[in-house]
Symmetry: C2
Subunit: 303 residues, 2 copies
């Protein structure tokens, strides 16, 4: 194991999943003085971290052995379940240790993992993030946490190097917040795309329209960033429409479990479903404008 | 007439409609050195401006006589049409003068007015505003202009004391931009309300959720201002749901004229229609959250 952490009560962290997001997050923890053991399914993605002081483990079980905090940053719920319960991580963890799952998965999976781990005396916090690779590198991620209040509070110095943590509620609430965040993003993209469509169809200039309304009640990060992509007709991702649809699928599934009718979420889900089914999954989610144009038999300048 | 304008080539302005918005706009023009003649249907709302140097006229015709620029700031298209074509304003204007209609009316009415005025050799610019009474007082309105480029450019010093002008396109495009702006506002309110609903139904804290996602991709003026109202359950208007519905009705009507399908606009229009039909028109538009709660058989804390 690496040398004991400097200012962190000697706590040791295992970091499982050192991909695009996980690697920069792990780096920031190392830089903050934590002892890190890292594991990745493809070991080539974990190896570079050893140069910065991490110890690379061959298996999830080996990585978590002796760890106080186990952070998972994996592709989906299946991968998280696999690593925790099939590849031996949960089994190798000591009672009293804590799993912090920072992957984005559906809330009910997070609650299932929490229940299974609780049976072994292991704490679980769901703590998905927003902010992308840039936020991971800069340590400015928005971390949405669900789980026991005291457990989350005790992780303050673990979260601090990665970003700003907010406890949103009990187990699963962090994942719920991530979904709700993505749902706002999707609906707001739809709002801006429909406005651009209306302006263009009515003979106005979408670029001038966007300039005119900046800073008013319609102002948003989406109007700023995605509105610009729509005006410039630059639809390379960014965030792909496939990923946006994946989030919306999870939001709709969660709404169904809760017996909720969410009309705008349902409407934008239907549009992204069509858009991706038509082969546009790899376009940026702001390209929903192209879908609207297609639907209305109108073509933008670049088509 | 009042003394000639100081730095404005002696141009004289008639201001028709000195209500909640019009009065502070007229005040800023007077302060900028323009000679102003003012008229209001209820003369009591025009009279106070005479103390600041405006001349009050008894009729629209008297007000516009000798004016180079006629600004209208009236309730709706009917009022604008009435003042211009039935109460004698158009008839009393000199060819080469310009009507700047800053009222919010449907784009097709704006184009009709432009055509009728053009027949008399009078220019027309539609220039509705966003920013409310506060923006009118501070001279920070967003002014969305439609009409001839040279005519709008020649009005630069007239617009300057009132706010920031952007030409969005030809006649009607200013009104179109105002509608599209209001449509983004409505859909974004719906996005935030549905997210709040999802969080609350799933056992999370809407207040903590809002805190967690501030500054990320879901950030907007609506999340800031209207999201706060939802969290605090303060639904006094602000912007009433009746006014929001009025804008959405106009947006839907315009979309229909243009043969456009706008799924999110249609969805939020349906929700506001129901909400207002259920007697909630005087609540702030952020109260769409209450409608969602009602629709889903869930009640918020204050009900």
């Amino acid at each position: 194991m690496a040398g004991s952490g400097k200012d962190h009560d000697g706590r040791r962290i295992a970091f499982l999943g050192t991909g695009l997001m996980g690697a920069p997050m792990a780096r920031r923890l190392i830089a903050a003085g934590f002892s890190l053991t890292v594991w990745n399914r493809d070991p080539g993605k974990a190896e570079p971290l050893t140069a910065e002081g991490a110890v690379r483990a061959e298996t999830p079980g080996e990585a978590v052995s002796g760890a106080d905090v186990v952070i998972t940053m994996l592709t989906n719920a299946e991968a998280v379940g696999n690593v925790l319960f099939e590849r031996g991580a949960a089994e190798a963890m000591a009672p009293g240790a804590t799993v912090v799952d920072m992957s984005s998965i559906a809330p009910h999976f997070a609650r299932e993992h929490a229940v299974s781990l609780a049976e072994r005396g292991i704490n679980h916090v769901d703590a998905p993030v927003s902010g992308g690779v840039v936020g991971a590198q800069a340590g400015t991620l928005a971390i949405m946490a669900g789980g026991d209040e005291a457990v989350i509070a005790a992780l303050a110095d673990v979260f601090a190097p990665m970003g700003r943590v907010t406890r949103v509620g009990p187990s699963g609430a962090g994942q719920l917040a991530k979904l709700a965040n993505q749902q706002i993003v999707a609906v707001t993209i739809g709002a801006v795309a429909e406005a651009m469509m209306l302006i263009a169809a009515g003979g106005g200039s979408p670029a001038a329209f966007r300039d005119a309304i900046r800073g008013g009640f319609a102002e948003s990060r989406i109007l700023d960033l995605h509105g610009k992509r729509m005006v410039e007709r630059q639809f390379a991702p960014g965030g792909s429409s496939t990923n946006q649809l994946k989030d919306l699928n999870a939001a709709m599934e969660t709404a169904k479990v809760l017996s909720l009718t969410l009309p705008l979420t349902a409407a934008v889900h239907a549009e992204f479903s069509e858009f991706v089914a038509n082969g546009n999954g790899e376009k940026d989610h702001s390209a929903l404008l192209l879908h609207l144009e297609e639907k209305n038999g109108r073509r933008g300048e670049d088509q």
